[in-house]
Amino acid sequence: MIDWRRGGPAGSLNKWVRREVREHMEKNVAIRKARPPLLRRMINWLFVGRSFSDYLLIYIAINLVCVLIEFIAGRYFNDSIPVWSLTNQDDINLKAFILAVGGYLVTAQVGVLGVISIAIGLVSLIAQREDASTDVKLYYHQSLSVEVVSSCIALLLVVCIQLVWPAQFVLHRMGAGTHLQFFKVVLMCVHIGWLSVNLVALANFISTTFFFVQRVHRERIREQYTAYFVIPAQMTKRLREQLYHSAANSLASTSGTEAKHVQLSFGYDLGSPETVEVQRTFNTTVALHDVRMLWIGWVVRRWTKRCRSASLPQEAERGEDQKPLLSFCIFLDQAMTGTFAICKRRGGVPLTGIERWVLKRAFIFQRRVRDE
C-alpha cells in the first residue's frame, strides 16, 4: 500500500517520487561511493546545464549592477570611492593597466579554446575509431566540454567588448558616474575570477580527457554520470508512471472495505459507454504533470459511500466488470490540446459539484512547448 502522505498534504505524485528518489540517493552505498570529490561537485554546480547565453546574461547583470552603483555613488557618495583608483596615482597608470590585463585575458582565453578544441578533436577521433558513440557523449558530458567552451567564449566576448567599456562610456557621456577607475577594477577582478574558474574547469576537462583512456577512471566517470544524472532522472520517470498506473489499488485500499464495491482506473481509456464527469479545455498544448492523490482519495471515498447506499444489496455480488467505475482516462506527460475528459464514470451515482471541482484541481497540467 502506498502512503500518499509522503507526497505532502495533497499527496502530490511528483513530491512522493522526489522524496523517494532523494532518500534512495542518500542511502544507497553504490551511489554514495560514486560521489565525485568536492571540487568536482563545485565545478558541476557552476557549469552543468549552463549555456553561452546564460553566462552572458549573468555577466550583463553584474555589469549593470556596477554601472548602477557607479551612478549612485558618483551622485551621492563621491567621497566614499577610494582615491587610489584615480587614473594616475603614484606613477601607476591604472587605465592602461586595466587595458593591458584585458589583453592578457583575451590571449589566455584564446589559448584555452585552442587546447580544448584539440583535446575534443583527439578524443572524438579515438572514440569514433572504436565505435564508441555513447562514450563520446559521456566524455562530452562529464568533461563539461560544452559548458567550458561556452564559458570561455562568453568571457572572451565580454573581455573584448569591455576593452572599450561601453556601459561606462554611455554613463560618462550622460554626465553621470565618476572618473575613478574603481568600478572597472571591480569588473576586471570579476574577469580574472571568471578566467580562474574557467582554468579550473579546464583542468578538470584535461584530467577527464587523459583519464578517460584509462579503464579504471573511465569506469569511475561512467558511474558518476550514471549515479548522479541518469538514475535520478530515469527512476523518477519510471516511478511516476508506475505509481500513477497502479494508483487505483492504493486508493481503493485506503478507501476501506467499501472499496471492493467500486472500480478505479488511472491512465486507461476503457471507452464507452461512460459518462464524462470532469473535462477541461486548453487552447495551448499541455501535459499532465502532477496528481494530488489524497484529494482524489477523498472524492473516491465519498463517491463509494454514496454508491453503496444507493445500490441494491445484490449489487455487491456483481462481477468486476459490472461494478461502478471511475476512470481517470488521462495519460501522464502526454501532450494534449483542446477539450478532453479527465474523469469518466460507468454506473454508480453522479459526482457532486464539489467533487468535480476537487478533481479538476487534483490534476495539474503544465504547458509544453512542443509535443514530446
Binding site: A30, T134, D135, R215, Q234, M235, R238, Q242
Partner: protein, 766 residues
C-alpha cells in the same frame, strides 16, 4: 537529457566492444572489455538496490513504468549476442565461451554490497538457459548423420571432444552458482543465533534456489529437445546431484512423520507460523524441528518433484513423438532412477536406482496435494509453471500478435500418460509394494494433509484419472512402459495396477465414509438454509402461481392449522458437516431454498383447488368465436383479470394452433394478443377477448375460469415461540444420505369471487 546515453545504451556499447574482441580472437582485450561490461552492470544493479519497508531487498530496476520490460531484463539481454559470438568461435578458442559462462556468478553481489532482490537474482540465473540455447544451436548446426546409420545426427571427431570439454565446464560453472547461496543470504552468519533469524535467512534464499533448480531442469530439457546426447547426460547428472552439498554441513533433513507432506509453501511463513503449519506432521516423540533441518527437507522434496516432473515431461515428448529419438525416453528413465553420468560416481548419491512403484505413486499423490490448478502464489502454481516453461520450447511457430491455442502443456495434469507409463513399468507382479499401508495411514489421518478431506478427495480423483487411463492404456503408454521395462506384460501389469489403485481408492473412500458417518451435522448450515427460506417465502412479491395483487402476512401460531411438511430426499450428508466432505456447490443453498419456495406455492395451489366451483357447460370448441361469446357472461362474474385454465394437451393445443395460424390479411374473429398482463403467467397461451388463457394438466374438456386477483392474503403462522415461520431439519436415512425436511404453516384468504368449472364439448362429438 534525452540525448544523453541511457544505461542500456552504455551497456550495449560495452557489449559491442566485447563482441569485437571475440571477433578479433583477442583474449586479453576480451577479458578487459568483459570486465568493464560486468563492472558497469554490477554497478547498475547495486545503484538501484534498496529495501522495502519490511526489510526485504527490492530493486528499482524492477520498476518498468510504461516500458514493456523492466530495466534489469533489458540489461541481461546484452549477453545473448555475446554467447552467439563466442559459440561461433568454439572450434578456434573455447576460452571466450568459458569466460562468458561465469557472467551470472560475476554479477552476484559480494559481501558488503547491497543485497539484490529475488526478482533480479532470478533474472541473473536466467542467463544460464540463455547460453544453453546458443550452445544447443551450435550442436544442431554441427551434428551430422553417420552414413549408413539411421541414428540421430550427433557430433563427430574434434567437435565432439570440444563440445564435451565445454559442456563439462558449463555444468561446473552452473553448479558453482549454488555455492554462492550461503554467502548471498548470510547462512553462516554467527550473529543469527535465534531460530527465527536463521529461518529468515534460509527462506530468503528459496526463490534463488528454486530458480536454480528449475533452470537446471530447463538445461536438461533443452539438451533433450535438441537431441544433444552429451549435454543431456551432463545436465541430467547436474539435476540428479542438485543441492547435494549445499552449505548445510552437519545438518541433516528433519524427520517428519509424513515427510512427503512438507511443501515449500512453508517458506511463506515466519518461523513460529511455520512450526504451527507443520505441527500435524511432527512425530510426537521427535525433538522440535530446526530451521536448517526443515529447510533441507523442503528442499529435498522440491528436488524430488522437479526430477519427477522433468522425467515425466521428457517421457511425454517421447510418447507423443514430439521428440523422435530414443534419447528422451532414455533420459527420462535414467533421471527417474537418479543415474549419474558415470556409474562410478553414484556411490555418494542418495536415492540412486531406488525408484519404486510405491515411491512414484506417493510422489504423484504429493504433486496433487501441492496446490490446486489456477491458484496463484502457491507451490502448485510454481510446479505448473515449471511444466509450462519446459514444454513451451516445443511450441509451434506462431505469428506474433495473433491469438492462438497453445499446443503445449500448462500444468502437472497434462503429464498423466507419462506417469501411467512409469507406474505400468514399475508395478509389482504381486502385492502392492507396501502402498496399502501408506494409503490407509494417510486416509485415516486427513488432518496431516494440506486441505484435510479435500486433499483426500483430490487424491481419489487423481487415482481415478489413472484408472481411467488404464481402460485400455494408449498404445504410446504401452510402448513407453515396454521401453522402460523389458518384462512388461500389458494385460498383467494393467490388471495389477488397476487392482492396486482400486484397492487404494476403496480404502480411502471407506475411511472417509466412516468419518462422514461419525461426523455430526453442522446445525449452522441447516439454520442458514432455514433463515434464507423463511426470508424468501415471507418476502413481498407480485405473483405466486396464477395469482397477483395479494399480501403475505406473518401470523401468530395457530394449532388448528396443520403444518405442511415437505421432504427432499437423497441429500448427501457430506454437504452438512463441517468442513464439507463433498465439493461445495456455490448454489446448493439456493437450490434447497428454491425447492422450499416451490413447495409453498404448491401448497397454496392445493388450497385453491379445494375451493368449491360452479359448473358451466358450453358446446363449442375453444377456437370458435361462439365459445368466447358463450363464456363472456360468466367471465364478467369472476372478477378482474379473468384466467381460463384449460387442458394443455387438448384445448391448449387447439388454441395455440388457432392463435398462430396463417390468415393472410384476414383478421381473426376475436381480439387476440400474446403480450401484456397475462404474458408473465406460467403456462400462458394467449389473451382472447380479455381472458388470459393458461395451460394445465387437466383432462380434455375441463377448464377453470377465475380471477387472477382471487387471492387476497397468504398467512404464515409461527411454528414456535421463537417466531420461526419455516423450520428445516436434516434427517438421516442411510449412513451418508438423508432428507431435508421443511415445515411451514400456511393459510390463505380468498376474495368472494366465484370460480367456474367449465365442461367444454365439441359440437361435432355431441
Amino acid at each position: 537529457m534525452n540525448d544523453l546515453p541511457s544505461p542500456s545504451q552504455i551497456l550495449e556499447e560495452l557489449a559491442d566492444k566485447v563482441a569485437a574482441q571475440i571477433q578479433r580472437l583477442a583474449p586479453v582485450s576480451f577479458e578487459a572489455a568483459l570486465g568493464e561490461l560486468i563492472s558497469y552492470h554490477r554497478f547498475l544493479l547495486s545503484a538501484n538496490a534498496s529495501t522495502g519497508p519490511d526489510g526485504v531487498p527490492f530493486n528499482y530496476a524492477e520498476v518498468a513504468g510504461m516500458e514493456w520490460n523492466a530495466p534489469h531484463h533489458q540489461w541481461n539481454r546484452q549477453y545473448r549476442r555475446l554467447y552467439e559470438n563466442a559459440v561461433d568461435q568454439l572450434m578456434t578458442d573455447q576460452s571466450f565461451f568459458r569466460s562468458l559462462t561465469h557472467v551470472p556468478s560475476r554479477l552476484l553481489p559480494h559481501r558488503g554490497e547491497p543485497a539484490l532482490s529475488a526478482a533480479v537474482l532470478r533474472s541473473i540465473l536466467d542467463i544460464g538457459p540463455m547460453y544453453a540455447h546458443r550452445l544447443e544451436a551450435w550442436v544442431t548446426r554441427h551434428a551430422v548423420s553417420e552414413e549408413g546409420h539411421k541414428r540421430r545426427p550427433s557430433l563427430q571427431g574434434l567437435q565432439r571432444k570440444v563440445y564435451s570439454d565445454v559442456v563439462t565446464d558449463v555444468v561446473g560453472t552452473w553448479e558453482s552458482l549454488l555455492d554462492h547461496a550461503p554467502t548471498l543470504f548470510d547462512w553462516r552468519d554467527r550473529e543469527a543465533k535465534s531460530d527465527h533469524e536463521q529461518w529468515e535467512r534460509l527462506r530468503a534464499s528459496w526463490p534463488y534456489l528454486w530458480q536454480h533448480l528449475t533452470n537446471t531442469a530447463y538445461l536438461l530439457a533443452v539438451a533433450v529437445w535438441n537431441d544433444d546426447e552429451i549435454g543431456s547426460k551432463f545436465y541430467r547428472d547436474a539435476l540428479v546431484r542438485w543441492g547435494m552439498h549445499l552449505g548445510e554441513e552437519g545438518h541433516s533433513a528433519y524427520h517428519l512423520a509424513r515427510p512427503r507432506l512438507l511443501f515449500p509453501d512453508v517458506f511463506s511463513h515466519k518461523w513460529n507460523d511455520a512450526l504451527l503449519s507443520i505441527e500435524p506432521l511432527v512425530h510426537p516423540r521427535m525433538p522440535p524441528p530446526t530451521p536448517s533441518g526443515l529447510f533441507k527437507l523442503a528442499k529435498r522434496n522440491a528436488h524430488n518433484d522437479t526430477v519427477l516432473i522433468t522425467s515425466a515431461l521428457v517421457a511425454y515428448w517421447s510418447m507423443g513423438k514430439k521428440q523422435g529419438s530414443e534419447l528422451a525416453a532414455n533420459t527420462s528413465w535414467a533421471l527417474l532412477n537418479r543415474q549419474a553420468s558415470e556409474p562410478d560416481d553414484e556411490d555418494d548419491m542418495p536415492g540412486v536406482g531406488k525408484t519404486s512403484f510405491r515411491h512414484i505413486l506417493l510422489d504423484l499423490m504429493r504433486l496433487e496435494q501441492a496446490g490446486r490448478r489456477f491458484e496463484k502464489d502457491t507451490y502448485g502454481a510454481q510446479l505448473d509453471g515449471l511444466v509450462s516453461s519446459l514444454d513451451n520450447m516445443t511450441e509451434r511457430r506462431v505469428v506474433a500478435g495473433r491469438v492462438f491455442t497453445p499446443s503445449t502443456l500448462h500444468g502437472r495434469h497434462g503429464l498423466l500418460t507419462a506417469f501411467v507409463a512409469f507406474l505400468l513399468a514399475l508395478v509389482p507382479a504381486s502385492g502392492d509394494d507396501g502402498l496399502g499401508d501408506q494409503i490407509v495411514g494417510i486416509s485415516q489421518s486427513p488432518d496431516v494433509l494440506p486441505e484435510g478431506d479435500l486433499s483426500l478427495r483430490n487424491a481419489v480423483h487423481e487415482l481415478q484419472r489413472i484408472v481411467g487411463a488404464l481402460s485400455p492404456p494408449a498404445e504410446s503408454v504401452q510402448q513407453a512402459a515396454r521401453f522402460f521395462n523389458d518384462q512388461f506384460d500389458n494385460s498383467k501389469s494393467v490388471a495389477a495396477l488397476d487392482q492396486i489403485l482400486n484397492t487404494s481408492i476403496n480404502a480411502i473412500e471407506a475411511a472417509r465414509s466412516a468419518r462422514l458417518e461419525a461426523a455430526p451435522i453442522d446445525e449452522s448450515k441447516v439454520e442458514r438454509i432455514r433463515s434464507r427460506a423463511q426470508s424468501k417465502i415471507l418476502a413481498p412479491r407480485e405473483q405466486i402461481r396464477l395469482f397477483r395483487d395479494f399480501k403475505i402476512e406473518k401470523a401468530a401460531a395457530d394449532h388448528t392449522v396443520k403444518p405442511f411438511v415437505a421432504r427432499f430426499t437423497g441429500v448427501d450428508k457430506a454437504q452438512f458437516v463441517e468442513p464439507p466432505m463433498d465439493d461445495p456447490s456455490a448454489s446448493y443453498d439456493e437450490i434447497v431454498v428454491s425447492r422450499i419456495e416451490n413447495a409453498a406455492g404448491a401448497h397454496l395451489w392445493g388450497l385453491f383447488c379445494q375451493k368449491g366451483k360452479e359448473g358451466f357447460a358450453i358446446d363449442h370448441k375453444i377456437e370458435d368465436e361462439a365459445f368466447w361469446n358463450g363464456i363472456r357472461s360468466v367471465a364478467a362474474k369472476v372478477g378482474p383479470e379473468p384466467i381460463l385454465l384449460v387442458s394443455r394437451r387438448a384445448e391448449g393445443r387447439s388454441l395455440r394452433r388457432f392463435v398462430y395460424a396463417e390468415r393472410g390479411d384476414v383478421p381473426p374473429p376475436m381480439s387476440i394478443s400474446t403480450t401484456g398482463f397475462g404474458s408473465g403467467l406460467p403456462s400462458y397461451l394467449a389473451t382472447v377477448e380479455g381472458i388470459h388463457v393458461c395451460g394445465a394438466d387437466f383432462p380434455e374438456g375441463t377448464a377453470w375460469l377465475f380471477s387472477s386477483k382471487h387471492l387476497s392474503t397468504i398467512r404464515y403462522h409461527a411454528l414456535d415461540e421463537a417466531e420461526h415461520y419455516v423450520s428445516v431439519a436434516y434427517e438421516p436415512v442411510a449412513k451418508t444420505k438423508g432428507e431435508i425436511v421443511a415445515k411451514f404453516s400456511q393459510t390463505a384468504v380468498w376474495k368472494e369471487f366465484p370460480i367456474f368449472e367449465l365442461q367444454v364439448t365439441d359440437p361435432e362429438d355431441v
